[in-house]
Subunit: 515 residues, 2 copies
C-alpha cells in the first residue's frame, strides 16, 4: 500500500497512520525541536551520521507495514556503542522519544518512526565478532543479517536455526525485538530459544547485559522479557546466539487433501503421534492457485488444501519419520502424497510457501497479512469461519498457516484506494484476531504487536495483566521514551476501544472448553 509522499520533511502526513495534518504553528514548533535536537546530537555524532532533511528521512518513514507512515525528526546512524549511549543520554535529557530500527522488515509497524522522535538506525552494527564452533555460539552485532550468521557458521557445519521469511534482509537485533520465528520454529524454537545473551543500553545510556552462556542464570530472567519487547525496554547492540549442527538430510512431503477439515485433522494427528516435524505448513486452494501461477512449485491444484511436512536429521531418522508421517497422512484421508526426491525438489516445494506473500500481491492491489495463533485442532473451524467472513465482508482471503504451531497467516485481499474496502479489510482482520483469542489462541504468532495490534492487545489481556506489563516497561524505561505508543496499549486506549478482553473470564484452565 502506498501513501502519497509528503512534500516537506516535517509535514509527515496524510498517510494512514498519521493522526492530524500539520498546521503552520505545529510545523514551526517541530522545526524548532528538530533544530535543538540536531544541535545537541552534533556534539556526539559526526555530521554524516545525522539525517534530517526530507529526502534523507523518507526511506525510514515505515517498516514492512507500509500502511502506517510517519517521518521522524531525525535519523541517527551511530557506529560505536559509545555513540549509541551518547544518543540515548541526549534524548533522555531532551525528553525525545527513540525508536530503534534494524532492517525495517517488521510487519507490525514496530519500527515506524515517532513524529517527535529520533529513529536510531543500527545499520552500522554489522560485524560478526566471533564464531566459536566448539562452544557452538556466535557473537554478533545487532545489525548483522539473520542469514549472514548461518553463512559465517557454515564452514563448521553449524547454523542459526530461526529463519523468518525475510532472513536475507532482517537483522538479529530486529529478530530479538520481535522474537521472530520461521517455518522451522516448531522444531527449533523462536529467537527466545536460540539467543543466549544480549548486550544493550538503557534510555539512560547505561550498558546492561541480560542472559548468559549457562543453561540457567540466577536472579530474574530479564533476557526473556527483553526478547520480544519491541524496542521498548533497551536498545540491544550485541547478541550471542546458539549455533546448531546442520542436519545431514532434509526431505519434505507434499500431501493433498480433499477438504480443509481432513487437512486440519492430519496436522493435529501428526503432532499427537509424537512427531515433531522440522516444518509443517498448510495452504488452502486459493493460496496454492496464486502461488503456483507465480513460482510453479509443483503444488496439487485440485486439492482443497495441501500440507508441507518436513523431516530432517540423519538419513535413518529422516527415513523413519517420513514413513510415520506418510502413514498418519494416509490414515487421515490424504488424496495424494509426494515426497521430495532430492534437494532441488524440496527447495521447490518451499519456494512456493516462501513466496506466498508476494504471490498474493500479484492477484490483488493490496493485501493485509494477519498473524494469529489458535490451537492446532481448531484449524478447520477457523478456515470455515474465515470462509463465512469472506461472504460477510465481501472480500477474498488466501490462507497460509504455520499449521504445526497453529500460527495463521490469512491474507485478506483488498484495494486500498477504495476507503470502504480498507475499512472492511480492517474489520475482517479484527474479527479473525478476536475469534483466535476466543478459541484460546493469541493475536500474534510471530510478527509482533507494533502499532498494528494495539487494540487487539485489549482483547487478549486483562487490565491487570496490561498494568503489569506497563509497570515492567516503567521499571526499564521510567521516562517512557523507548518506542512509545507501540506493543502495549494504555488502559485508557483499551477503555476507548471498548472491547472486553475475551480470552477467558479467569476461569481455572481446567474449566476452559478447549486448549
Amino acid at each position: 500500500m502506498n501513501a502519497p509522499l509528503p512534500q516537506d520533511a516535517l509535514a509527515a502526513g496524510p498517510a494512514a497512520g498519521s493522526v492530524r495534518p500539520d498546521t503552520a504553528q505545529t510545523l514551526s514548533a517541530r522545526r524548532e525541536r528538530q533544530q535543538r535536537l540536531v544541535s545537541a546530537l552534533s556534539g556526539v555524532l559526526p555530521a554524516h551520521a545525522l539525517l534530517w532533511h526530507a529526502e534523507d528521512t523518507i526511506p525510514y518513514e515505515c517498516d514492512g507495514l507500509s500502511a502506517y507512515r510517519e517521518r521522524p525528526l531525525l535519523v541517527a546512524l551511530p557506529e560505536t556503542e559509545a555513540q549509541v549511549a551518547a544518543v540515548l543520554r541526549t534524548c533522555r535529557e531532551l525528553s525525545v522519544p527513540v525508536v530503534a530500527r534494524g532492517a525495517g522488515t517488521g510487519l507490525s509497524g514496530g519500527a515506524m518512526p515517532h513524529r517527535d522522535g529520533v529513529t536510531l538506525s543500527l545499520a552500522k552494527f554489522s560485524r560478526i565478532l566471533k564464531v566459536d564452533p566448539r562452544e557452538r555460539v556466535a557473537v554478533v552485532q545487532c545489525g548483522v543479517r539473520n542469514l549472514a550468521i548461518s553463512e559465517a557458521a557454515a564452514p563448521y557445519g553449524l547454523y542459526y536455526a530461526p529463519d523468518p521469511s525475510s532472513q536475507i534482509a532482517c537483522t538479529i537485533g530486529g529478530n530479538v525485538a520481535e522474537n521472530s520465528g520461521g517455518v522451522h520454529c516448531l522444531k527449533y524454537g523462536l529467537t527466545l530459544h536460540n539467543v543466549l545473551k544480549v548486550r544493550g543500553y538503557t534510555i539512560d545510556g547505561e550498558a546492561v547485559e541480560f542472559g548468559g552462556l549457562s543453561l540457567d542464570a540466577p536472579g530474574l530472567d530479564l533476557l526473556s522479557v527483553v526478547i520480544g519487547s519491541e524496542g521498548m525496554l533497551a536498545v540491544v547492540t550485541e547478541v550471542v546466539v546458539r549455533l546448531i549442527p546442520r542436519p545431514q538430510l532434509a526431505r519434505c512431503i507434499m500431501a493433498s487433501f480433499p477438504t480443509v477439515e481432513t487437512a486440519g485433522e492430519a496436522v493435529a494427528e501428526i503432532i499427537a503421534s509424537g512427531i515433531i516435524p522440522a516444518g509443517l505448513e498448510m495452504m488452502d486452494k486459493p493460496m496454492t492457485a496464486a502461488v503456483e501461477d507465480f513460482v510453479h512449485a509443483g503444488y496439487d491444484l485440485d486439492a482443497a488444501a495441501i500440507l508441507l511436512c518436513e523431516s530432517d536429521g540423519t538419513p535413518e531418522e529422516v527415513e523413519e519419520e517420513i514413513g510415520r508421517m506418510t502413514e498418519v497422512l494416509t490414515r487421515c484421508g490424504a488424496s495424494g502424497i509426494e515426497v521430495s526426491r532430492d534437494e532441488a525438489q524440496r527447495l521447490k516445494f518451499w519456494s512456493g510457501r516462501k513466496n506466498a506473500f508476494p504471490a498474493s500481491g500479484r492477484i490483488s492491489p493490496d493485501y493485509m497479512c494477519m498473524d494469529s495463533t489458535i490451537p492446532r485442532r481448531r484449524l478447520a473451524d477457523m478456515l470455515r469461519a474465515i470462509a463465512a467472513m469472506e461472504d460477510r465482508h465481501g472480500l477474498r482471503c488466501c490462507n497460509v498457516f504455520h499449521a504445526g504451531d497453529g500460527n495463521l497467516h490469512p491474507l485478506i485481499l483488498f484495494d486500498a484506494n477504495d476507503p470502504d474496502q480498507l475499512r472492511r479489510a480492517e474489520a475482517f482482520g479484527a474479527e479473525i484476531l478476536e475469534l483466535s483469542v476466543e478459541m484460546g489462541g493469541t493475536i500474534t504468532g510471530e510478527h509482533g504487536v507494533g502499532v498494528e495490534k494495539l487494540n487487539s492487545m485489549c482483547v487478549q489481556f486483562s487490565p491487570e495483566e496490561l498494568a503489569m506489563m506497563i509497570a515492567v516497561k516503567h521499571a526499564f524505561d521510567a521516562p517512557g521514551l523507548l518506542n512509545p505508543g507501540k506493543a502495549i496499549p494504555t488502559l485508557h486506549r483499551c477503555a476507548e476501544y471498548g472491547k472486553m478482553h475475551v480470552r477467558r473470564g479467569l476461569l481455572p484452565f481446567s474449566e476452559l472448553p478447549r486448549f
Copy 2:
C-alpha cells in the same frame, strides 16, 4: 546440619540464619502482631487451616537448607484459590510478608519463613486437573509432586521431562519458583522450557495468568520472568506443563578416566561433536568412593574421574549415538568404557549418581552443597583449583557435576559443631562461586539464590542490573511483601559485602578471554 530447637513459638533463635535473640519487649510486640494476624485471617480461612502454635510451626522453620531456620508468625494452608486471594489481600492490608511454600525441598532457603510473616503452604493444591494426551499437556495445581505428573501421563506414553533429584517429593509450584532442572535438562531443558502457562495471584489478591499454549505470545514475556523468581513476584496456583513422549530406549555409558583433565576434555569434545546426550554427569574419585561404599553402583574405583553418558530415543538412534560417544570417549583417553546391558544396570549406574548427596552425608557430619556453573571446557581447571582450595582451607571436597551443562555440585565436607570449620567451609564455598563467575559462569545452576547466595548476587551482577531486577520486582509487588529478603540483594547489602562484581568490566563479549 541441625540447629537447636527453640523453646517457644515466637523465640525463633538462635539458628544460623537468625540475626538477633528476642528480648522480652520484641517478643511481646511479636505476640501482638501474631494475634492481630490470627484474628484477621480467621475471617477468611477455617480454623484448621491456620497454624500458629509452636509445635505446629516447627515443621516449617526451614527448607532443604537446614542451616538457616526461622519461625513464621503463622502458617496458612488454604484449600481454594479464593482463600489464597483472601490471605494475600489480608496480608497486603496488614503489611505482613508472605512466603509461599511447596514441599520445602529447596536447597537455597527460598522457602525459609519470614519471622514477621505468613508462610503460605500450598500443600492442599494437589490435584491433577487434566491430562490431555492429544495436545500433550497436563493442567495441574501447584502442589502436585513433580513425579506424580509423569505417573499420571504414563498411560499415554508421555512424561514431564525436568527431573530434579527430589522429584518424588518436590512440587511443580516449587519447580516453577526455582526453575528446577535435573540430570536430563541438558537435552530436555529446565522448568522454563517445559511450562507453557501459569495462573497465580498478586500480592493484591488479583488473579493473573502468564504464558499461553502457543509457541509465542504477544506483549512482554512475563511467564519467563515469573519462572525462577523464587516467589517474589506472584503466588502460582496452577500450571500447564508440556508432556513429551517417553523414549523407547535409554542406555548409559560409564567411562573411566585416568585424570580429571582427560575427563573434562571428553565432556567438551562430546558436545563439540554435535551430540546432545540425555545425561552427561561427572564424578571424581572421592565421590565415587563415597557412593560405591553406599549403593554399590558398580563404579570404577581406580579411575580419577568417571563420566555417565546417557543416550535415549529409538533403538536405532541410541545405537548410533552410543557408538559415536564411545568413539569420542576413547579418543579422549578413556581407560575403560562400560555400556549398560539392560535397564537394571542403567538404573544402577544412575542410583549412584542420585545418591551422591546422602553418600557424602555418611562420610562427614555435615556437607555444604555448592551449585555454580562454568563453561564446560573449564571443568578440569576448576577441579584443579578446588584441590588447591582443599589444602588452603584444610577441608575435603567431593565433586559431582552435571558436566554436560557445566553445572558443578562440589560437596564441601565439614563439622558444623566446630565453628572454625563452618567458617572455613563458607569461605571455601564463596571462593568456588567467585571463581565460577570469573570463569564466565554463574553462582547458581539450578538451586536458586534464596538466602544462601544473596552476597554472591553482588559478585554476579552490576549495580545497574540489580537495580533493574529490583524495579521489576516492584512492578509486580510494589509493597515488597512477597518473600522479602530473598533472591535479589539490596544495593546497600552489596555495598556492605564490599565485593566488586567480577563478571566482566562490561567488556564487549568479543573481548572476553573465554566463554
